[in-house]
């Protein structure tokens, strides 16, 4: 019976697979399935390889920086005996306590006194053993303890770059290595934590540099950026999300915000140069101008994050507040804004992290100067941490490599901490309505 109802399929015994499309057990079908599964596995492996590869790049970058930079936090120090009484520096203890102490000591020839002490202690090559900035350490020591002027003292000064490298086993000059070994055996050469790296400023000599000046510049710049970008960003997010009528003007505002978020950062540098420096004549190299430029750069980030956070607050909350007689401003400032604040803060921190790592616009507005004293305020010439890294990376002296990497470690620690705070905020205050 059934033969008549089911249409006769053309059967060819030698090729059963093509005859029956569901001939799963046939050899060619099995082969095709195996091939498809192999392709599937390969594709999956490629995906995994891409993820692992990308993470591997990151790990390679971080490990390289850590490996090169860890030495920047240490330094070799030489105990240098100095007879201040015999040197008879022409300064009075009163001068040392006053404001002109640095100038007075420099003009009294402290530099030469230190060099002579090195000759007396280690022979004619002595000045080459200690760092060029050794006299700065001596100066600070004298300022802290003016009574030293009346006698002899042994002061730990930084060793010169070749000696320091040799002490770490990186020296490529056997003579220097011998000297370093001898000094170490005598107990004059010691390794210590480089506190000056955290408290000092830029210098011409890698053994004497520090990051505090750049860090302070960064903090001042960030302060200005936050003070400008946060209110403007939050206010325009509120306006666009809560009050703006839908018309050509608000469309224009939206397009400009979205576009500004994607404008290359160097363009903001050109804007700062043309408008803030050449047109408004604000002080060059100052954190004020840097902060204003970066504020314009990250303002769209805050606006976009703020709008998303405000959008996420359910309308029922607004309706309830309006229903009991609150004005539109009260609805926003008493109800919507507090609920949206965690989201806005997350966006702000991410924007600030971007500003903290930014270099290019600041190069254009002149924050690439060699600055030895940390800035006292937002109008003083300053440099910021990324720019300091850039300046040190250009130095030819080998000692700067580890200082640059060490500064990078500090910068990355700051950025990771900021991102961690942002993630914590997001997780802590994430609300599902």
């Amino acid at each position: 019976m059934s033969e008549t109802l089911v249409p006769q399929l053309p059967t060819r015994p030698e090729e059963p697979a093509s005859a029956a499309p569901t001939g799963w057990k046939s050899d060619s079908m099995q082969k095709r399935i195996r091939a498809r599964y192999a392709r599937e596995r390969r594709f999956r492996m490629w995906g995994l390889a891409a993820v692992i590869g990308s993470a591997g790049f990151l790990a390679f970058l971080l490990v390289t920086m850590l490996w090169q930079g860890i030495g920047g936090f240490q330094r070799a120090e030489i105990a240098l005996p100095i007879d201040f009484k015999a040197a008879a520096l022409e300064v009075t203890p009163e001068q040392l306590r006053g404001k002109g102490a640095d100038l007075a000591l420099a003009s009294a020839g402290l530099n030469d006194v230190v060099a002579n002490a090195a000759v007396a202690a280690f022979g004619p090559d002595g000045p080459d053993y200690i760092s060029e900035s050794a006299w700065v350490t001596v100066r600070d020591e004298l300022k802290a303890r003016p009574e030293l002027l009346q006698g002899r003292a042994s002061i730990d000064v930084p060793a010169s770059s070749p000696i320091a490298l040799a002490a770490k086993g990186d020296g490529n000059d056997p003579a220097v290595t011998r000297v370093a070994t001898r000094l170490r055996d005598e107990g004059t050469l010691t390794q210590g934590f480089n506190i000056d790296f955290l408290t000092g400023s830029d210098a011409t000599d890698p053994t004497g540099v520090g990051i505090w000046g750049a860090l302070k510049g960064s903090l001042l710049t960030m302060f200005i950026t936050l003070m400008i970008a946060f209110p403007i960003g939050v206010f325009s997010a509120i306006y666009l999300e809560e009050y703006a009528p839908r018309n050509r003007w608000t469309d224009l505002i939206e397009v400009s915000i979205n576009n500004l978020a994607a404008v290359p950062s160097i363009i903001f540098g050109l804007l700062g140069l043309a408008v803030f420096l050449n047109f408004l004549h604000l002080p060059r190299s100052a954190p004020l101008v840097g902060g204003m430029t970066l504020a314009l750069m990250i303002m769209p980030v805050i606006v976009i994050a703020g709008r998303n956070a405000i959008k996420a607050v359910p309308p029922s909350i607004r309706d309830a507040a309006l229903g009991i007689g609150a004005s539109r401003i009260q609805v926003v400032f008493h109800h919507v804004l507090p609920l949206a604040l965690p989201g806005i803060l997350t966006g702000t921190i991410i924007g600030m992290a971007r500003a903290l790592g930014e270099t290019a616009p600041l190069l254009l507005i002149g924050m690439r100067a060699f600055i030895v004293t940390p800035p006292g305020g937002v109008f003083d010439p300053a440099t910021v941490l990324p720019v300091q890294i850039f300046l040190w990376s250009d130095q030819v002296s080998r000692g700067f490599v580890e200082k640059t990497s060490a500064a990078i470690i500090v910068l990355l620690i700051f950025l990771l901490a900021m991102n961690a705070v942002a993630i914590y905020l997001r997780n802590r205050f994430e609300t599902r309505w």
Binding site: F43, R44, G47, S256, P264, L363, L364, F390, S393, L412
Partner: protein, 459 residues
């Protein structure tokens, strides 16, 4: 008194105004039991505080801009100024030195005239600071007091104050437009000056870029930017994308389609760190580690004159930086494809990879392409990596082991030297900036349009 102390003082006055006005309004509301206040006491407080603070703040900003000029003028009128040299660089230096002496921020002066001028400067600074402080305080008091007299039960403080807040919100949102306009105008303004010296065609199509020597008779001859455009395109849109697209796309596919939930939860933030690392760090990494590795590799392959500053090292590192942009955009657009389409394909017997290749990717293609366009726009605007890792020599080449230079690197190089501000050299930087802005602007607009259109198609 310095600006910050003055700001602090004015804000303190504002606080006092707020407190007193609120207290008065509260007393009114208690006193007249029959009539209720139109506005809350704190709204009266805000109204008065606004009047006390805002005019004074506006005055402080204006004063901060005009007082340096007034100070300098009164110093120049003093007898010691007679010894100053005429107009010129030296005169400026002496004035600056005297100014910092007067402020107590420097320890000594190089010019003796500066020391004589310093007292006059100090006196002028003090005088004008006191004048400024006095006017600011008078303004704060006057307007605050005027507003205070209006605190009455039926005064509509809330309406008035809220109108001011709305104005503030509107002004804040206009700053985005002003910034865009500022960028556009400043670039156009300087570029027009540049193109009045150098013909547009020379700039856009010239093959020779060597701004160090600009001939006076034909400034356009050495300012042909075509090699820069090629270098930018080669490094940012070719080499970087050859790294970023496969890695980014495959990462997104793996993390959305295959990875276990906990693996994804860990790997996604880790990949995002790649985008958060400052570009100066990438630049240093490229210059110090990747560049020499690539040079050694090129020498091994038989390129004799390989340099550590190759297009490949800059492009490679930039590609790594771009991976998270491509992957998160791909992630979003794959997630936007309806699950029904994916499930349908799987139900037909397709393997996951076949579903991805034949269904998900084609459906998500507009979003992926938009993400790549945004990544390209990001790459060609990227500065620090190329400043530190790309070479300065402009040449048109297809060999990735050779050096290439980019628009952004040249902008930095042109503007960080010590040149006068109206030389064709510095103006060329603005013309390059304008070109860069135009290109990235178009890329962004196209990408944003594509994303928007495509999102709507599935929602």
């Amino acid at each position: 008194m310095n600006v910050f102390a003055l700001l602090f003082l004015v804000l303190g006055l504002g606080l006092i105004a707020w407190l007193t006005a609120r207290a008065r309004a509260a007393r009114l509301s208690r006193g007249i039991a029959a009539r209720r206040l139109h506005s809350l006491p704190s709204q009266h407080g805000w109204y008065v505080a606004t009047w006390a603070v805002v005019p004074a703040l506006i005055f402080i900003v204006v004063w901060a801009n005009i007082s340096p000029g007034l100070i300098t003028e009164s110093v120049l009128a003093s007898p010691a100024a007679a010894q100053l040299p005429g107009f010129g660089f030296e005169r400026e230096t002496i004035l600056n030195e005297a100014y910092s002496l007067a402020q107590g921020s420097s320890q000594g002066a190089f010019y003796p005239v500066a020391e004589q001028l310093a007292p006059a400067y100090a006196e002028a600074i003090t005088r004008y600071n006191w004048i400024g402080t006095a006017i600011a305080l008078i303004l704060a008091f006057a307007f605050g007091a005027l507003a205070f007299t209006r605190v009455k039960p039926d005064f509509r403080a809330r309406t008035r104050f809220e109108r001011a807040v709305m104005l503030l919100l509107l002004v804040a949102s206009l700053i985005a437009i002003l910034t865009t306009l500022g960028i556009f105008l400043s670039l156009i303004f300087e570029s027009v000056r540049f193109f009045s010296i150098v013909p547009v065609t020379d700039f856009l199509f010239g093959l020779n870029w060597s701004p160090q020597v600009i001939r006076a008779d034909d400034p356009g001859a050495n300012l042909g930017a075509l090699p820069l455009f090629w270098g930018t395109f080669f490094i940012g849109a070719v080499i970087a994308m050859l790294i970023a697209i496969p890695f980014g796309l495959m990462s997104a596919i793996y993390l959305t389609q295959y990875a276990p939930r906990s693996f994804r939860a860990w790997m996604k933030p880790i990949l995002e760190i790649l985008a958060g690392v400052p570009t100066v760090v990438y630049g240093y990494f490229a210059a110090l580690t990747v560049g020499p590795l690539i040079r050694d590799f090129a020498v091994m392959l038989g390129f004799q004159f390989a340099s550590a500053e190759s297009a490949l090292s800059a492009g490679l590192v930039m590609g790594i930086m771009i991976i998270p942009f491509v992957s998160s955009m791909a992630d979003d657009s794959i997630a936007a494809v309806p699950t029904a389409m994916r499930d349908g394909s799987l139900a037909m017997g397709a393997t996951t990879s076949e579903t991805i290749k034949r269904v998900l990717i084609p459906a998500a293609l507009p979003g992926v392409v938009a993400g790549i366009l945004l990544a390209v726009s990001r790459a060609i605007g990227e500065t620090m990596i190329v400043v530190m890792a790309a070479s300065g020599a402009a040449n048109i080449t297809l060999n990735p082991f050779e050096g290439a230079t980019t628009v952004t690197k040249q902008i930095v190089d042109l503007l960080t030297g010590e040149t006068a501000f109206d030389s064709p050299k510095t103006l060329a930087a603005f013309a390059l900036g304008l070109t860069l802005f135009m290109i990235t602007f178009v890329l962004n607009i196209v990408a944003l349009r594509v994303v928007k259109k495509y999102r709507e198609a599935y929602e």
